[in-house]
Symmetry: C2
Subunit: 198 residues, 2 copies
Amino acid sequence: MAASPLISGLMEALRTLPGVGPKSAQRMAYHLLERDREGARNLAGALTAAVDKVGHCQRCRTLSETELCTLCADTGRDRSLLCVVESPADVEAMEQYTDYRGLYFVLGGHLSPLDGIGPEAIGLDRLEALLDEGEVAEVVLATNPTVEGEATAHYIGELVRPRGITITRIAYGVPLGGELEYVNGDTLSHAFSGRREV
Amino acid sequence: MAASPLISGLMEALRTLPGVGPKSAQRMAYHLLERDREGARNLAGALTAAVDKVGHCQRCRTLSETELCTLCADTGRDRSLLCVVESPADVEAMEQYTDYRGLYFVLGGHLSPLDGIGPEAIGLDRLEALLDEGEVAEVVLATNPTVEGEATAHYIGELVRPRGITITRIAYGVPLGGELEYVNGDTLSHAFSGRREV
């Protein structure tokens, strides 16, 4: 490499971003240094501010720079509904694409005993405390449709059931806009067994 | 968006990186905040250090944090050869893929009169001064094979010619590994007219 240490260092640092390989990192570094130093400074500031100040919401555990996130602090949301998701990005997706108006609980992952990720690591003690406050009437399980997500949903279901709270799971099935022939077998099998009368 | 101002601000700032759209920016921001705060801090530091300290090499104009870049400072390079390229990334590419052992001159763009980019903006006064030092015996034109790159190469050729210095241009032709049938017409036409006896 002909690049100087600081430029190489910048490329190296950019590679910590997900989806950025050596070629993109090089392109980004040169772009910032040649054409957008203001943008680079701005990005450095945004990174530092976010890392220093963003923590987790005390109630739903999503990323938040305030004690309660904007959703938990919003008195207009339906507090009888609690949607359990794996990550803050899932909250974003639900907010963007569904008309769900309840609150969330963010696990920050899924149960994975082999990696030492047990119930407390994904905040299930906190979830139980929340349910014991008595406001929640329905828990919507929206973990990922993976083996681990399923196992986690099942485990949470067992926690919720004795409390007499309704438990629902978002629907599985063939995704809209796809072609049946290319949908994977498990999905199609779920879609068939979950068929509904029209 | 349910994201808090600092998180949204970080996503916004990440979008200044070339090739990063809203979806990737979101993924990067959450990845850094949830799983790699150390990497985020490190990136902020690398950005600040690079922006503050990286300037241009006094001789070849490439990005460099020292007065002379590592290549210009390297006494083992052949000073009779000068390769003219558009950007620092082109220097990297030449160093990585060719066995060129001379020095470079980095234009930092190409002539573009309509955008007000004239000879001085791409450092041609500096190039002339360099040629007048008398060390250079051959100028290798390696600007991009675009209309602007061509025009720039032609213009530089006219500057160099009266000084009695050899001028060469890197070869155009069909790229290796491609299929002739998919190569664009201009390239094929150049490859044909530039054919050589084997």
